[in-house]
């Protein structure tokens, strides 16, 4: 132990930390942790694949007249939503809860990173993984499922990015009702189920009865899924997209506001 090395005269090595260095450091640590946690790794890497396979087999059983767009494209649209929900929403919720309970979030707040940077840094690996899986899905769709390439890649990308941001916010919000990592499986279930059936993931929205279809339009993911669908299939009406965009922005604003107000940075004592 050499206490003589402690001095405050900053040497030339003293680089200031910036948003970029902080986000990189936080995201790198988060990615390392993801790689070391078998449960988290399973949720982020294997579960989306299983979901897509499951989705495909269930859609195949549907009456093509009800489905309207064919099992292949429906799998791609639903699969994209599934990846986003599982990888971004579910895994981010549990990793944020894990960091909160280990007092990591509180400790990080004593440093130079801002609150937003801490949350964004934690979400970056999940966001990157989900986008990579969507890219894989595009490749698989074209080669294995015999689907066309995305008709409007620009709209698809826009929808994906918006979905990642919105789901990351919703994940942060869900931590406020999640006390332990174990209970994250339960607390993320409502949004998962409601979105699966209401926002056109498992079941296309057209197959819902009238009132349910109208209500389902209000769900958080319905807007971004409109973009995803338009991106894959090219079936976009400018009016629909505008509504979907406004809808998504509104959900984003409400979510962001709620996270600012409600997010807990340390465990309940």
């Amino acid at each position: 132990m050499t206490t003589t090395t402690v001095s405050r005269d900053t040497g030339a090595d003293g680089r200031p930390s910036t948003t970029r260095t902080r986000l990189a450091a936080l995201a790198r640590a988060e990615l390392t942790l993801l790689g070391r946690n078998r449960n988290a790794l399973f949720i982020a890497a294997v579960m989306p694949l299983l979901m897509v396979v499951l989705l495909r087999s269930s859609l195949r059983g549907l009456d093509p007249k009800v489905l309207a767009i064919g099992a292949g494209p429906a799998t791609l649209v639903g699969g994209t939503g599934m990846i986003l929900l599982v990888v971004v929403y579910m895994s981010l919720t549990s990793s944020l809860v894990a960091r909160r309970e280990e007092l990591v979030l509180k400790r990080l707040r004593t440093g130079e990173a801002s609150d937003t940077e801490i949350l964004v840094g934690a979400a970056l690996p999940a966001a990157a993984i989900s986008l990579a899986q969507c890219a894989v899905l595009v490749a698989a769709g074209v080669t294995a499922l015999g689907a066309d390439a995305p008709a409007r890649p620009d709209l698809l990308l826009l929808g994906l990015v918006a979905a990642v941001v919105l789901l990351a916010g919703l994940g942060a919000l869900t931590t406020t009702i999640t006390r332990t990592v174990e209970s994250a499986g339960l607390t993320t279930l409502p949004l998962f189920l409601v979105s699966s059936f209401g926002s056109g993931l498992f079941v296309p929205r057209e197959t819902l009865p009238g009132l349910a279809a109208d209500l389902s339009e209000l769900l958080p993911l319905s807007g971004v899924m409109e973009f995803v669908r338009a991106g894959w299939l090219g079936t976009a009406h400018a009016g629909n997209l505008l509504t979907a965009a406004l809808h998504t922005v509104a959900w984003g604003v409400v979510t962001g506001w709620a996270v600012r107000r409600r997010f807990r940075w340390e465990p309940r004592r």
């Binding site: 206490t3 200031p16 936080l26 640590a29 400790r107 004593t110 130079e112 801002s114």
Partner: protein, 314 residues
């Protein structure tokens, strides 16, 4: 020069209505080591969190290096170092990965090797945090608090859980920092730690500072004690009146601010009357007695402070 830390009439009420900090004012000049003492639940950590800017006070103001640490976080954080009471590092990262993460969030971070060396963790770089001993985790935490060469360092119970050697090493480190001009605010419930490290200290009780000053001033404000037992046939009432003796079934205690004079008078009286004083014990006030005295008042919540204590707070 603006003081390192300045708090005025600081209060913190939790959502349940519990007032953990009830009107604290303190000033820590630059370069000073200041210790906040108190029993568990006295409000030390709640106070330090306000000073660190982790929470906004319900009432009152905090300035750290001239800025509000809560509202002007970006201005304050690069210049301070914080060690929480309980570490907060992902248990699955290694020591080196933890330092790297923290270095990315720290302006002017020292090289990892130097930081780990300063707390004696060299050679533990590849060990996961969860496999470190409690003391090693504390030292890692300290290394990270020091990573940006802070001007002001907050240490919340830095030596709790350390063995004797680790504690002494930490003390040496704090002294070295002080010699380098770093301001240190630490909380502790080890009295000897406060006594040997701190330039000034404050004792907290129920959210208030009840005593403060240099260790010497704080102990001087406390009365010295003389204790003895009287033979069965000598009632305490026969003691000289000037000695303000409290008798508890033959066991007598005298509290005094003039130990030498009162002890002399007692001994003179004993010689003149031929009285044997049993188990005679006279001692000057110590920080420990000051502390125990305050802690023993735990139940007397509404007791107003005496003028002497009031004066000590100013």
């Amino acid at each position: 020069m603006t003081p390192a830390i300045e708090a005025t009439d600081l209060s913190r009420t939790y959502s349940g209505g519990y007032e953990a900090v009830a009107g604290i004012s303190l000033t820590v000049p630059r370069g000073e080591v200041f210790a906040l003492l108190g029993t568990n639940g006295a409000g030390k950590t709640s106070t330090v969190e306000l000073l660190e800017g982790l929470a906004a006070p319900t009432r009152g103001t905090v300035r750290v290096l001239g800025h509000d640490p809560y509202r002007e976080r970006a201005a304050v954080r690069p210049r301070i170092g914080v060690m929480l009471q309980e570490g907060g590092f992902p248990s699955d990262l290694t020591v080196a990965e933890t330092v790297r993460m923290w270095a990315g969030c720290t302006s002017g971070a020292r090289p990892a090797g130097e930081a780990l060396d300063s707390v004696g963790l060299t050679g533990r770089e590849r060990v996961r945090v969860k496999q470190l001993s409690g003391g090693e985790r504390r030292r890692l935490d300290l290394a990270l608090a020091l990573l940006g060469r802070p001007e002001v360092l907050f240490l919340d119970e830095p030596t709790t859980g350390l063995d004797a050697e680790g504690r002494r090493d930490t003390w040496d480190l704090v002294r070295a920092l002080r010699a380098g001009g770093t301001t240190v605010l630490l909380t502790t419930h080890y009295l000897e730690e406060a006594e040997s490290l701190a330039d000034r200290l404050a004792i907290m009780h129920q959210g208030r500072i009840v005593l403060s000053g240099t260790p010497a001033e704080v102990t001087a404000a406390q009365p010295a004690r003389i204790r003895f037992t009287l033979p069965a046939d000598v009632p305490a009432a026969r003691l000289p009146l000037r000695l303000r003796a409290a008798d508890d079934g033959g066991r007598v205690e005298i509290r005094t601010h003039a130990l030498q004079d009162d002890l002399g008078e007692l001994l003179d009286w004993a010689r003149e009357t031929g009285t044997r004083l049993g188990a005679l014990d006279a001692r000057s006030a110590s920080l420990e007695e000051a502390f125990l005295d305050i802690a023993s008042r735990a139940q007397e919540t509404s007791t107003p402070r005496t003028p002497a204590q009031e004066a000590a707070v100013r």
